[in-house]
């Protein structure tokens, strides 16, 4: 089966340092001091092209780490990530420079994403049109409203023609008309056979838009499958979790936490490999 995104035993580990010097020791002697915390632990899955995958999970289940790994912002500690094509992350804080104008930010961001000047020139009008912020495009970004900022960020990320789109809670800031416009654009992507990851707390939005879903629970995949099945199970879990009193809720969390700090028996150094977008020769499409 061909895939566009593949995670193979991927773990992302952070060390909870007791003091600053532990950090230095780790760098110098390559030995971890202090408690280990797995934001993601032994995650394995494959996503075929053209799917829209919702990522569900309560706070602290590793959704943001997942989106950063998917968009190649951070490297995994262990395991292998294969991405077929260029990933693009859309998040609320899109890393725009407040002192520069919208126009300058477009060029800056595109440069950072590795485009050359001709490519930038070609896509700038599309970005401006999509962002739809009028004369503000020549004003410093710090004068923008939060809606304008996220619209510009979204417009840049979506127009650089990514093959894998990761949307991290970004739709929650726009108004309905902008959300609709984004949904139209994302449906276009879907039809072109691109893969979209959609991270949201809103189960109804995930149901409406996604074809598959991953349910993350404390850094591990609890379930991965067709969206309705996963969403139903997740809702069941949420209902059950809410019936617990606060003492049992925290007991549950502590139990899961203990699991999360257990060291995984993995020694390889994690890597993210970006493959060319087209399937290689001899491979079935």
């Amino acid at each position: 089966m061909s895939y566009q995104v593949k995670f193979e035993n991927v773990s992302k580990r952070y060390t909870l340092y007791r003091k600053q010097s532990d950090k230095l020791k780790e760098v110098l002697f390559n030995r971890a001091n202090g408690k280990q915390f797995y934001a993601l632990r032994n995650v394995t899955f494959e996503v075929p092209p053209g799917e829209v995958v919702g990522i569900l999970g309560i706070n602290g289940s590793g959704k943001s780490t997942m989106s950063n790994l998917l968009s190649d912002v951070i490297p995994p500690t262990h395991g292998k990530i294969e991405l077929r094509g260029k990933p693009s992350l859309i998040a609320i804080s899109s890393g725009l420079n407040g002192n520069l104008t919208g126009m300058e930010n477009i060029e800056l961001k595109c440069l950072m994403l590795g485009m050359d000047k001709h490519q930038i020139k070609a896509i700038t009008p599309e970005i401006i049109e999509f962002a739809d912020i009028g004369d503000f495009i020549d004003q410093p970004v710090k004068t923008y409203s939060s809606g304008m900022k996220s619209r510009l960020g979204f417009a840049i990320s979506i127009n650089i023609d990514p093959d894998i789109l990761v949307i991290d809670e970004a739709l929650s800031v726009g108004d309905q008309t902008f959300t609709d416009r984004c949904l139209v654009k994302m449906n276009e992507f879907k039809d072109e056979g691109k893969t979209i990851f959609f991270i949201s707390h809103s189960v109804s939005q995930v149901r409406q838009f996604c074809t598959q879903a991953i349910w993350l629970e404390y850094g591990e995949i609890r379930e991965y499958g067709p969206v309705d099945e996963v969403a139903d199970e997740y809702m069941k879990f949420l209902k059950w979790f809410r019936t617990l009193d606060s003492k049992r809720q925290s007991e549950f969390k502590q139990q899961k936490m203990a699991q999360r700090t257990t060291i995984v028996d993995q020694n390889d150094i994690g890597e993210t490999i970006i493959l060319p977008r087209k399937p290689l020769k001899g491979e079935s499409v």
Partner: protein, 265 residues
């Protein structure tokens, strides 16, 4: 080590356009909010020179010349390069941890960050050199032909600053305290270089271990039209050797640790 240096060199070469554009935006975003904008890049150093002239020239030296050169042009010839090196070293070492969040892609060549930050300091420097040359001609010290040394000096300065920043930016990202230490060293360095005074004898030999000494004397020789650069070819070789070794160590550390940089922010 050689492999890492080669890799860094190739990355720089392939990202030349990127480095130039980013350096322009870096300068722009720094000065976009002021009415005088870029003018401040010139006004600030001129005010500083005026103060140093007053304190060191009239105060401590009581208006005496240095050799047969009046103090003001002598001071300017040494402090103009320093106005480039000082800020470039400080912002170069801070560059990786202050910019890496903006990069937000593992595939971005992080080795270009110190390069564009240093380059963004160069534009002001070139303007300062031009003003300094006008001053030298006004004092009748320079006939202007020795500006031919400028490309060599710029190349030497950029090579050294980049090699040094590649090393310090990696260290400062892993160990944040390093930045504080470096700022103090830079503050001290102003007095350990032949900017306000001319060391002699054994002291001069010791201070010459510092490769910046070569650059400051080199610039002075260019501004004042002396043949110091020609007479000190051996010292020049020491400078380039120092730069090369720094670059080898810096790129080895940079390449070894860069995939962890983002986790240290």
């Amino acid at each position: 080590m050689i492999k890492a240096s080669k890799q860094v060199f190739i990355e720089l070469w392939e990202s030349l356009y990127l480095i130039v554009r980013l350096s322009l935006y870096e300068t722009k975003s720094r000065y976009s909010m002021q009415y005088f904008g870029y003018l401040w890049e010139i006004i600030t150093p001129i005010i500083q020179i005026a103060i140093y002239w007053l304190v060191f020239g009239f105060g401590l030296r009581a208006g005496r010349d240095v050799g047969d050169v009046p103090f003001l042009p002598w001071l300017v010839s040494g402090i103009v390069p320093w106005f480039f090196f000082g800020p470039a070293i400080v912002s170069g070492s801070r560059s990786v941890f202050s910019k890496i969040a903006l990069v937000s892609k593992m595939s971005f060549p992080i080795s270009t960050i110190p390069a564009y930050v240093i380059l963004s300091e160069l534009y002001r420097h070139v303007a300062m050199v031009a003003i300094a040359f006008i001053l030298m001609m006004a004092f009748g010290i320079s006939e202007g032909w020795n500006i031919l040394f400028l490309p060599y000096l710029l190349l030497s300065a950029l090579a050294f600053l980049y090699a040094f920043s590649l090393l310090t930016s990696a260290l400062a990202t892993i160990i944040r305290d390093f930045q504080n230490l470096l700022s103090q060293i830079i503050r001290m360095m102003l007095y350990l270089l032949p900017i306000f005074w001319q060391p002699t004898g054994k002291l001069e030999t010791i201070l010459m271990i510092n490769p910046l000494y070569y650059l400051v004397e080199g610039y002075r020789s260019m501004f004042l039209g002396t043949d110091w650069l020609m007479q000190n070819v051996g010292y020049g070789l020491y400078f380039w050797g120092f730069t090369l070794v720094t670059f080898l160590i810096g790129s080895a550390i940079h390449v070894r640790f860069r995939r962890y940089f983002i986790d240290y922010i």
